[in-house]
Assembly symmetry: C2
Homo-oligomer: 410 residues x 2
């Protein structure tokens, strides 16, 4: 039988506010780019806090930090929690930070209660989740999971030409351990939702069932450039007219399949008020939590583009740009999170993650799940990002319950 432990929401909130000052911006956000001096300072703080709880902090060659809290049976792999402490250039106070500090609050609660888990616990701060200074994003967890090499990570440069490897060394966080050498029994990550669903439905936390599949395309529709004043409507091969029809159909396809479709960039060529566009170039981002449904959606979208183009005697081209398969989370971990929300009587729902997270990579090598916390209006990557003390506390409480239940299963 489990102890009834309660995390201290106010203490968690105070940690969020204390660390928010490291790189804090006048508008209430955080600018704490990966491997910057601000990142070094928050890492130093994190290490001290963990060591004060009796944890041993390990650092791997990717700069990932692992705070190990011993368990009764040290032959077991640790149950991990974590997220990231780096932020966007004008980031908020919760994206990533809540996952690390929520885990830290769990460790503090256990420490205060003198509670000893069966398995050791591990709290992780992943390097460069945001990808804002060094692209791509989620690089620390990617190297951990073997999806990206240490050499690839080291070679990436920021806009000043500084390599990620050099930046890692300059702040003193190039460890000696091999990424991935420390295997986890399971990995739990709390994160703000970064979308509007929980807020719109007035729910405190989300039981995350996986990360949706994403496909990106570069699309072109080529008609014929001609004079806006002398070309009758019936003689036009208007690429923009074809684009508009395709965009409408693609939107319907996403809605019909319960997925997402976004056209984020569009340009008309040659781009003059009195020239009928001969060419339209646009991006297409399509997502669904099921790979097969996404594939169906993409096929339908290609048909929609083809039909719209053909209807205007135009040609078309759809080139794949990025393809990330769906990453379902572990059923046992999801059940542990659901049981925790039920035990606590928290208003919650199952939800798919629309954005990528470090959990996407850990899921490739160990059972993984996430807990989402409501954020106001879904606003994120923004200094105005906002979550309540109560919701952050609920997320950490669910994390504590789920970890202890998972640990107790023997």
């Amino acid at each position: 039988m489990l102890a009834n432990l309660t995390i201290d929401s106010r203490r968690l909130w105070d940690m969020l506010m204390e660390t928010a000052a490291i790189g804090g911006t006048p508008k209430g956000g955080i600018r704490r780019l990966s491997l910057s001096d601000e990142d070094r300072r928050v890492r130093d703080w994190f290490r001290r806090e963990c060591e004060a709880l009796g944890c041993t902090v390990h650092i791997d060659t990717a700069g990932n930090m692992y705070a190990i809290r011993p368990g009764k049976d040290m032959s077991r792999k640790p149950i991990a929690m974590g997220s990231h402490l780096d932020t966007q250039p004008t980031g908020g106070k919760f994206d990533g930070v809540l996952g690390v500090l929520g885990g830290l609050e769990v460790l503090k609660t256990l420490h205060q209660a003198g509670y000893e888990t069966n398995s050791p616990l591990c709290l992780v701060n992943w390097t460069n989740e945001e990808g804002a200074r060094f692209s791509p994003s989620m690089v620390g967890s990617a190297v951990y999971a073997g999806a990206y090499t240490q050499a690839q990570m080291d070679a990436v440069t920021d806009k000043d030409g500084i390599t990620q490897g050099a930046a890692l060394e300059s702040i003193g966080y190039r460890g000696a351990e091999k990424p991935g050498a420390l295997a986890f029994q399971a990995y739990f990550e709390i994160h703000i939702e970064q979308g509007p669903i929980l807020d719109e439905e007035n729910l405190s936390v989300g039981i995350v069932t996986g990360i949706q599949a994403i496909k990106w395309f570069n699309c072109t529709i080529t008609g014929r450039e001609s004079h806006a004043g002398t070309t009758p409507m019936a003689y036009r091969r208007d690429a923009l007219a074809a684009f508009a029809e395709a965009a409408g159909e693609i939107r319907k396809i996403a809605i019909d399949h319960g997925g997402l479709a976004t056209i984020g960039i569009v340009s008309a060529y040659p781009g003059s008020p009195n020239i009928i566009p001969g060419e339209m170039r646009f991006t297409l981002d399509m997502r669904h939590h099921a790979d097969d449904v996404l594939k169906t959606m993409v096929t339908a979208a290609k048909i929609a583009i083809a039909e719209a183009a053909t209807g205007h005697d135009a040609a078309y081209d759809v080139q794949p740009l990025q393809d990330s398969p769906a990453q379902p989370f572990d059923a046992t971990l999801i059940a542990a999170v659901r049981a925790a929300t039920e035990k606590l009587g928290l208003p919650s729902r199952e939800i798919t993650s629309g954005a990528g997270h470090d959990a996407m990579y850990t899921a490739r090598v160990c059972p993984t799940t996430m807990i989402f916390v409501r954020c106001a209006e879904g606003l994120s990557h923004n200094e105005a990002e906002s979550a309540t003390l109560e919701d952050c506390g609920n997320g950490a409480q669910v994390l504590l319950e789920a970890v202890l239940a998972y640990d107790a299963r023997g």
Copy 2:
């Protein structure tokens, strides 16, 4: 009763080819920018040709050239013909040139036949119709019609900072006469159609009934920028989705009213593949030959934009950018052109000009009309611009007949 005179199509064609060498490009087009040395050379050639026919060549302060062929009654105002000899940077051999050389061929035919008109005739070469080097376009005829001042014309600079006034003087074509001082009884202009209608309908010439009204707008639709992966379709305020709907409706409005609508420029902001556009900015060009119908079309387009925006919980703004009313041509002159096509048994139709021409300005101060000549696929402002010897000849023959009929009416 009129003499049955026939223009010499081959001689007209040879003049087109001879002058095409002045600024001729390797791809078979012409680069003869207004007030350039090539413009000077073709002007010199034009003056010599006219003087050889017994014409007196007058030049006004705007550089417009007027070749006067005397008539029986010199108290009558001249009946004018004309167009322009300047071209686009990569222009074709017919745009503008056909109107001047077609008129010149009429004068040659009359000269050869020893035919004396009742009224004097005037053949005009307008300065800077294209607006390619000095903007705006149609400046010589605009100054002639009092729509633009000489001082405004002189002050405009090209990309090298040379003023139009200085360029006029440097090629020796700043005359002493006041633009507009020489009033016309009527003005006829032959021009290639620059659109596909005659070619598609297999017609040689067009009886131009006027220049259509044009309205331009800068439009904005403002929704809410949000994350492509975390924002469900139902929660989006997608400015691009609203734009696509509006674009489709506007196209239908143009078709339903027998007018034209073109969206030539469009941009999505902030412009990232995984951000739902929070703002769309686009231009709207709407045209119709009747001002009242264009007004109705614009009202309908504004409603379409409003409804599309509202449907996505977005705001919108439509700002007027340019407004040019319809310019109907003179019924008597149109009838003279129609009678000529009927007499000649030429396949023809009534047509509205979709582009602006010098005739747009002369129409403000004297009875005016135009004759369109078929050009291949409607291609213009392009070195591949193409018209046949036969169609050019037909245009000049119609011009001759219409001018003589108008002159004969007493």
